[in-house]
Structures are given as structure tokens and as C-alpha cells.
């Protein structure tokens, strides 16, 4: 099929960017969206035009590198699908496709479609872990985890950290990302000792980079792993509870 692309081109973080029109004739419907970009980039190179920079790696929908805003939708038209697993059979001959990077203040553009998502790492560093230094663990089966809790924690832990939730949010909020990590750890028995410090530290770090959640629900819709917005409710509940849980205990010195 023959397509017309409008792709955001931006040389470096400080340069002004603009859309570039690129013809994409003769695209096979069996290609993945990123394979189409491979083909386009080879053609651009042959014409002496610099190829389009885009993040990608595993191409199996698990590493979370790929990050394209396709016709205004994070990861494109297929629900529950990362860009790398989107196939051209979802498009039709003659389509015009607009491709942009994630747009969010916390994700500065580095080049073309490549953005810097380090702010996510900062949120995890603030508390997205269980403190369990290597070597200090008891036998694995000493910790009983109800199957329902393990399954629900896994649902949350499936987050790939791609940033689609932020890109889709009109406020540029990262609540779904943060909630997914908080829920994964706070639902498990191992996560209880740090439960309330974790949520406060992660939320406060999140708020220093990202916008605020006003319950639009765009994040859930855009998430390639279909992480439920219910986890944001859990995040909020734990955050509110933390306000009194984290008080010093009677007699405890500061």
C-alpha cells in the first residue's frame, strides 16, 4: 500500500522541530510499524537524507522503548498494543499517518521521536523497591502470598515503563506509571513494612516532574499492557492513609 507520513523532525533538544512530509509507497501490510520505519530509513539514507531517530529495541512489546504518537494516539490505533507490535494491516492504502514523539514537559525531546524518560527512573529510585539486600532472604516458601494478591500484583507489575500514559494524559501526569509500581509492591506481604513511606516518597517525586491526575482515564486507554486505572485509586488510598500512618509512634524520638 501507499502511505503518506508526517513525521516530527528535530535535530537536537534545543533546535526547533517541524513536521516533515515523507512519501511511503509500496508498504506491505505484513510489516510491523517499526519495520516500515526501517524501510523508510533505508530509503532516506539512499536519498542522502538523515534517517528518522526513534527508540526501539526488543520489538516484542516488553522492553518499553518504543514510543510513537500515531495519529494523535499513543502507540497508535490498536488497543493494548505497543508500537512495535502494531502491524500495517491496521492501516489502509492512501492513509496519511502523523507520527510524533511523546509530548510531555517531563520527557524532553532528544531528537526526532526520541525522548528522555529518566524522570521515571527517579520515581522508582524514590521508593519503588523492597529493601532486601542480597543474601538476607528467608526460604522463598516461608512467605505465603495469596494467589489473588500475587495475580493482582502481577497485573500491576506488567507495566513496561514506556510512558504512553503520560503522553496520553492531557495533564502530562504519571499517576498510572507510579500507581502500577506502588500497587505491585504494596499488594504483596513483602511490601508492607515500607508501604506508606514508599507511596509518599514516590508520589512526591512524581509531582516534582509531572502534572496532576484529574481522572480523565486516557492513560488506561493508551496503556499497551492495559493496566487498570483502579491502581490509581489504590495509590490515592495509600497516599491518604500514609498521612496518619506515617506519624511518629507514641514515645518515638525524631
Amino acid at each position: 500500500m501507499d502511505l503518506k507520513l508526517r513525521v516530527w523532525r528535530q535535530k537536537n533538544p534545543t533546535a526547533a522541530g517541524a513536521f516533515e512530509e515523507i512519501d511511503a509507497p509500496d508498504i506491505s501490510p505484513e510489516m510491523s510499524f517499526l519495520e516500515m520505519f526501517d524501510v523508510i530509513n533505508d530509503r532516506l539514507t539512499a536519498e542522502g537524507r538523515e534517517p528518522i531517530a526513534f527508540d526501539h529495541d526488543c520489538r516484542e512489546g516488553i522492553c518499553g522503548s518504543c514510543s510513537m504518537m500515531i495519529n494523535g494516539r499513543a502507540h497508535g490505533p490498536s488497543e493494548g498494543t505497543a508500537t512495535c507490535q502494531l502491524h500495517m494491516r491496521k492501516f489502509s492504502d492512501g492513509d496519511q499517518i502523523t507520527v510524533e514523539p511523546w509530548r510531555a514537559r517531563a520527557f524532553p525531546i532528544l531528537r526526532d521521536l526520541v525522548v528522555d524518560r529518566s524522570a521515571f527512573d527517579r520515581i522508582v529510585e524514590a521508593g519503588g523497591y523492597i529493601s532486601a539486600p542480597t543474601g538476607s532472604a528467608p526460604d522463598a516458601n516461608l512467605i505465603l502470598v495469596p494467589k489473588e494478591a500475587a495475580d493482582s500484583a502481577m497485573d500491576a507489575a506488567a507495566c513496561i515503563g514506556c510512558g504512553a500514559c503520560v503522553a496520553a494524559c492531557p495533564n502530562g501526569a504519571a499517576n498510572l506509571f507510579t500507581a502500577a509500581k506502588v500497587a505491585h509492591l504494596n499488594l504483596l506481604p513483602q511490601g508492607q513494612p515500607e508501604r506508606y513511606t514508599r507511596v509518599v516518597n514516590m508520589v512526591e517525586t512524581m509531582e516534582s516532574f509531572f502534572g496532576s491526575c484529574t481522572n480523565h482515564g486516557e492513560c488506561e486507554k493508551a496503556c499497551p499492557k492495559e493496566i487498570s486505572i483502579d491502581f490509581i485509586a489504590l495509590l490515592n488510598r495509600d497516599y491518604v492513609k500514609a498521612q496518619f500512618k506515617n506519624r511518629r509512634l507514641a514515645g518515638q524520638k525524631k
Binding site: 533538544p13 520489538r59 528522555d116 527512573d121 539486600p133 522463598a140 505491585h184 504483596l188
Partner: protein
């Protein structure tokens, strides 16, 4: 410089070696650990686990990754599970059995002492990961669940749906993030290692290129740890992530580290067959699918009926037929070659007749749709997304693809290469899997190396250096290495040829797959050894890398990696040519049994082939480490 290979395997009974060794190594006292600098390159299971654990111990760690975040490393894509000899299923498992299965699965080409240690540590890994909050699958009573995997007759694989690698990596990444927060680990993302710097024969530091600014600079430390993964992408099409490469390991090799057994490559039997020429990578379907899926082809070549039209009696369940004891769960190399044999005989299925069926029809009727969905739901979805076919209704089509590489930089029992101070972990080293890796053992090895082995052995090297500072990065050795890196980058930018980097990479991949893939012969390997240097020469003459060094330049990144593959591929083929036997993933057509199984030559090839670099167009020098088997009885592997 000539290499001496001393594996430093501790003496004594195999069960006691590791414990005794930990007692024998020199220690650094807790208050002194902060006086040491350690560089870790790579943030996958091995690298992240090592950096986090070294940080916990108190060392000053610098972690380098070319990804935008440590969590992107390709360990994340491992699906099926991780082995551990817990014997929670009461089915007769033990450390000794896991050790035995692994040595046998590796076709008797691994070091016994290393493999025993791996099996021993496997139980600690599961404990550690559970404590970190890895959401492994559970039984209703809250205990851990297990599944079985190829090459074993016990259920010892722990899993987190089809995303075990993701969850284990996130566990290691989170432990790492904690150390970053505490200030013991300094994180350098989007920073690629482009050279190893040695001083007086010891590792002194690395040279990196910042992938955003193009800045090339040096970093020094008391020790350098490479955890940079495998080299499967030398075949262009593989299940590896697009950016996985051999560059860090290869450049360390060029600085003196021996490369061991590069011809041991693993072809994974269950991947989605290639569908056309612009295919950019192959997608793995977890081996765990072989627990419930049955592999078959139509009995008659050129059968054009759809699978549901072919009655059971006209199907050939060739794995169950040829290997009744292990059936669909034979090790990967055996399953792969069996599939190749069927396809070569014209019984392949699918539009390009390049696959075999993996059928869940029986499993769905036996277990019901829901149970199958709970076990494999995400894999089925992934398959449907790629092929537009529903595996609950139509059998999957699968075919082998390059997946893992058992070879890598040579290391001793301490995981130190022959270059003092240079450690190599995980897939990047050669140590534990022999000539074939069993399923669910890569995650085990990466984490064993990172969480438990290196943190216990590195002090032996560091302790005597107490009070010495790392070499300054303004020393001439660093400046010289930096200018070599600059020259390398400029050479690629200045070629200004006509062909794209990917174009060369695809050509190299075709040479490798056709001549050094699932079946290799003297003739094919000699052909590859002619073609690769010619392609390399053409590459430097005709590659087109646009743009400059000072911005994000993905063509430039790729070009550097492909340039290294073009050198490394030649060594891989030379190793395959030199190893005149078949073993595990290395199958020489001249050396097979009457039934077409791999025929080893223990008399002449029971050794590790470690190659020393002598120059780009010079023949590398071969060093041998003899393998001694005291515990495992060498036999032709029998999975019948």
C-alpha cells in the same frame, strides 16, 4: 603477550568447592569497601544484580548502559522461567540433579565446578527474588508454583506468567534504583562502552560515547565488570533485541581478553517463522509452550490442506515419535534439528513452507480454554498480533531461530577473564552452559553471577590494592584509547558510501545463517571465511552513515556494532571450522550418528577453545583449557 588459562578451580569435593573457595578468598573489610571504584557495563540481570549488590556491600559503583533506562536491557524479554533446585514439587529434584541435567544438556562441554556452583546458588536466587517482591506464580495456598522445561524430567521452573525475565529484571533494577538513591551506584544511561583500557596488563577503565551528545570520554576504576550480553545478532535475524551486540566484549577481546567457544550458538526451536525479506527480527514463543503443545507436520510432503483438515493419523508428531521419553520436551538443539529435518524434507507448513505446527488442540480439550489462557494467554496474544491467526483455533507455526550464545569471553572460576581486573558475567561469558543451554537457565546464570558469585570473588582481586587510587583518566593510555575511538567514529562517518548499515548487516546475517547456522560443514565454513573479510572490506569502503557524531545518531551507533560483528563473525566461523565434532548447538554435518544426532569427539575436543586476538587480518591463536569430568559420566545424550 601470550595467554595462560588458569581456571582456578578449587580442589576438594564438588559439593564443598564453593564454600571452601569463599573462605579462601581475600576479603575487603566493610569500612574499606568505599575506597574502591568498580565499573559495571550493562544493566541486564547480571549487570543490574552485580551493581546493586556491590553497592549494598559498600563499593563505589558506576553503571553504564546504552539504553535510556537500565530496565530496557534484553533480559526483560525472557519469557518462560528460571530454574532452581528447590524440589518443592517432591519429584526427586536436587542440586546434584540440576547440576547433572545442566552438564548433560550442555553436551559435556561445560566446567563441572562452575555448573555445580550454579545449581547450588539457584535456590538462593529464588529466595532473593521473592524477598524483593517478584510476583512469581502461586498455588491457591500461597506457595510457589512450578512448571517443567526442556531437558528435565522434574518440575523446577519458577515463573511469572510469560514475563519471568521482565519481573526478575525489574527486581534487579529496583534493587539497583535503591542503591542509586543511596548514592553507592552512579548511573550513566545512553552511554555506550567503546573500548577497554588496560595498563600494565590489567584492566584500568573504559572509554565511552555519550549517545546524546557524542561526547567521548574515559572512566577509570579498580576493576571493570562486563555484563553486556550475547552476540546472537551476528546472524542479523535473531530473537535478540535490535541493539544487542558484541561490541564491548569484542573490544575487550582486542585488548587481550580471550574469546571462548564462539561457535556455541543456540537455535531456539519455537520462534515465529520468517514471513518476508524486510523482517527485522524474529519473535520467540516461550519453550514453556512445549509443555502442552504438540509438535507435528503433515505426514506427506506438499500437503496443501489446512491443519484442521488433516486427520490425526496423517500427522507426524515427530518429537513424540523419535524421543518417546522426553517427547515434546527434548532439549532445544535436538528439537531444532528435528524441525529442520522435517522442513528440509518438504513437510514444512505455512505460506513459505518454513515452519512446523505447535498444536494446542489437545490441550484446550483436556484442560479447557481458561487454563490454557492462564498459562499462555499473553504468548497467544503476541502470536495473534504478529500472524493474525488465533492459536486457540489454528495451530501455531514455529521454526528455529538464533536465540542465545553459549560462547563468550573466557573467565576463570572467579568470573575474571585472563586480563586481571576484567570480570565478565552472564551471557557475555562462556562459563556454564557448555555447548547448549537448557531452558530457564539463562536467568539463573545471570542472577547467580550478579547477585552471588562476583560479589564474593571480586574482593580477592581488590583486597591487595588497598590504598591505591585508580589510574588517572588523563594518563596517556586513556588518551590513546580515546583517540582510537574518535578515529573509529570518523572512519565510519567519512566512508560516505552508498549502502546502509542495515544492508551490510543483513548480508552478514545471510552468510552466517547459510554457512554457520543450524548445520555447518567444512565447505560451508570455508566459504563463509572467504566472504566475511570481503564484506568487511566493502563495508569500510561503501557504508553510508549520514549525520555527525555530536547528536543522537543511530546509524553511527549501528555502524560501530556491525563493524565489530564483521570481525567477530569470522572468529565464530573459524572456531566452528576448528571444532571437528558436533556437540550441542554446534552441528557439523561431517560428524553425526546414523540417526542424525550430534556425534562428539571426546578424545580430541573435550576442551574449551579460547582464542587470542592477534590483529584484524591475522589468524588468532588458539589456547585450550582441558575439561575434566570427575562426577558426570560422559555419554551420548539420550532423550529417547
Amino acid at each position: 603477550m601470550s595467554i595462560t588459562l588458569d581456571a582456578k578451580i578449587p580442589t576438594g569435593p564438588i559439593e564443598d568447592k564453593w564454600t571452601q573457595h569463599k573462605f579462601d578468598v581475600k576479603l575487603v573489610n566493610p569500612a574499606n569497601k568505599r575506597r574502591y571504584e568498580v565499573i559495571v557495563v550493562g544493566s541486564g540481570l547480571a549487570g543490574a544484580a552485580a551493581a546493586a549488590t556491590l553497592g549494598e556491600l559498600g563499593y563505589n559503583v558506576k553503571l553504564f548502559t546504552f539504553h535510556d533506562s537500565p530496565r530496557r536491557a534484553h533480559s526483560i524479554a525472557a519469557q518462560g522461567g528460571i530454574n532452581a533446585a528447590k524440589n518443592y514439587q517432591n519429584d526427586g529434584d536436587s542440586i546434584y540433579r540440576l547440576f547433572y541435567d545442566t552438564v548433560k544438556g550442555g553436551d559435556y562441554r561445560a566446567r563441572e565446578a562452575n555448573v555445580y556452583r550454579l545449581a547450588e546458588i539457584s535456590v538462593n536466587i529464588i529466595d532473593q527474588c521473592v524477598a524483593q517482591g517478584v510476583p512469581f506464580a502461586r498455588e491457591y495456598g500461597g506457595l510457589l508454583d512450578n512448571r517443567s522445561f526442556g531437558g528435565a524430567q522434574v518440575s523446577r521452573t519458577f515463573y511469572a506468567r510469560g514475563q519471568t525475565g521482565q519481573q526478575l529484571l525489574l527486581g534487579a533494577y529496583q534493587a539497583l534504583a535503591r542503591q542509586v538513591h543511596l548514592g553507592t551506584v552512579e548511573l550513566h544511561h545512553r552511554t555506550e562502552m567503546l573500548d577497554l583500557v588496560t595498563h600494565e596488563g590489567k584492566a584500568a577503565g573504559i572509554v565511552t560515547r555519550n549517545l546524546v551528545s557524542g561526547d567521548i570520554r574515559s572512566w577509570s576504576a579498580h576493576a571493570v565488570v562486563l555484563a553486556t550480553g550475547g552476540y546472537g545478532n551476528v546472524f542479523y535475524l535473531s530473537t535478540n533485541a535490535k541493539a544487542s551486540n558484541v561490541t564491548a566484549a569484542w573490544r575487550a577481546h582486542k585488548r587481550g581478553a580471550a574469546m571462548a567457544n564462539p561457535c556455541y550458538t543456540q537455535i531456539h526451536p519455537t520462534c515465529i517463522p520468517r514471513s518476508d525479506d524486510f523482517q527485522s527480527k524474529l519473535t520467540l514463543m516461550s519453550e514453556s509452550l512445549r509443555n502442552d503443545g504438540r509438535v507435528w507436520v503433515p505426514e506427506n510432503a506438499d500437503d496443501t490442506r489446512t491443519p484442521d483438515q488433516i486427520p490425526d493419523r496423517e500427522r507426524d508428531y515427530f518429537l513424540e515419535r523419535r524421543y518417546p521419553a522426553f517427547g515434546n520436551l527434548v532439549p532445544r538443539d535436538i528439537a531444532s534439528r528435528a524441525a529442520k529435518r522435517e522442513v528440509d524434507a518438504g513437510r514444512g507448513v505455512g505460506p513459505m513452507k518454513n515452519g512446523v505446527y505447535l498444536d494446542f488442540g489437545a490441550a484446550v480439550s483436556r484442560l479447557g480454554h481458561d487454563v490454557v489462557e492462564e498459562r499462555y494467554g499473553n504468548l497467544f496474544e503476541m502470536y495473534e498480533r504478529i500472524t493474525d491467526e488465533d492459536p486457540y483455533k489454528v495451530p501455531m507455526r514455529i521454526y528455529p531461530a538464533v536465540h542465545y550464545t553459549m560462547g563468550g569471553l573466557w573467565v576463570d572460576y572467579n568470573l575474571m577473564s585472563n586480563v586481571p581486573g576484567l570480570y565478565v558475567l552472564g551471557e557475555a561469558n562462556f562459563s556454564d552452559h557448555g555447548a547448549n543451554r537448557l531452558g530457564a537457565s539463562a536467568l539463573m546464570q545471570g542472577l547467580a553471577d550478579g547477585y552471588f558469585v562476583l560479589p564474593s570473588t571480586i574482593s580477592d582481586y581488590l583486597a591487595p590494592q588497598l590504598g591505591t587510587a585508580p589510574l588517572g583518566t588523563d594518563e596517556p593510555v586513556f588518551k590513546a584509547a580515546e583517540s582510537e575511538v574518535h578515529e573509529g567514529v570518523n572512519r565510519l562517518l567519512k566512508a560516505k558510501g552508498t549502502r546502509s548499515v542495515d544492508d551490510f548487516h543483513r548480508d552478514l546475517g545471510n552468510i552466517m545463517w547459510d554457512n554457520c547456522g543450524m548445520a555447518r560443514s567444512k565447505e560451508s565454513l570455508e566459504k563463509a571465511l572467504q566472504e566475511i573479510p570481503a564484506l568487511r572490506e566493502e563495508f569500510y569502503r561503501d557504508v553510508r552513515v549520514l549525520g555527525e557524531n555530536e547528536t543522537v545518531n543511530q546509524s553511527l551507533e549501528k555502524a560501530g556494532r556491525v563493524a565489530d560483528f564483521l570481525e567477530f563473525g569470522e572468529l565464530l566461523c573459524l572456531d566452528a571450522l576448528t571444532r571437528e565434532e558436533s556437540c550441542g548447538g554446534h552441528f557439523r554435518t561431517e560428524h553425526q550418528t546414523e540417526e542424525g544426532e550430534a556425534l562428539r569427539d571426546d578424545e580430541n575436543f573435550s576442551h574449551v577453545a579460547a582464542w587470542e586476538y592477534t590483529g584484524v587480518d591475522a589468524k588468532p591463536e588458539l589456547h585450550k583449557e582441558q575439561l575434566e569430568f570427575e562426577y558426570v559420566h560422559l555419554a551420548q545424550r539420550n532423550y529417547k
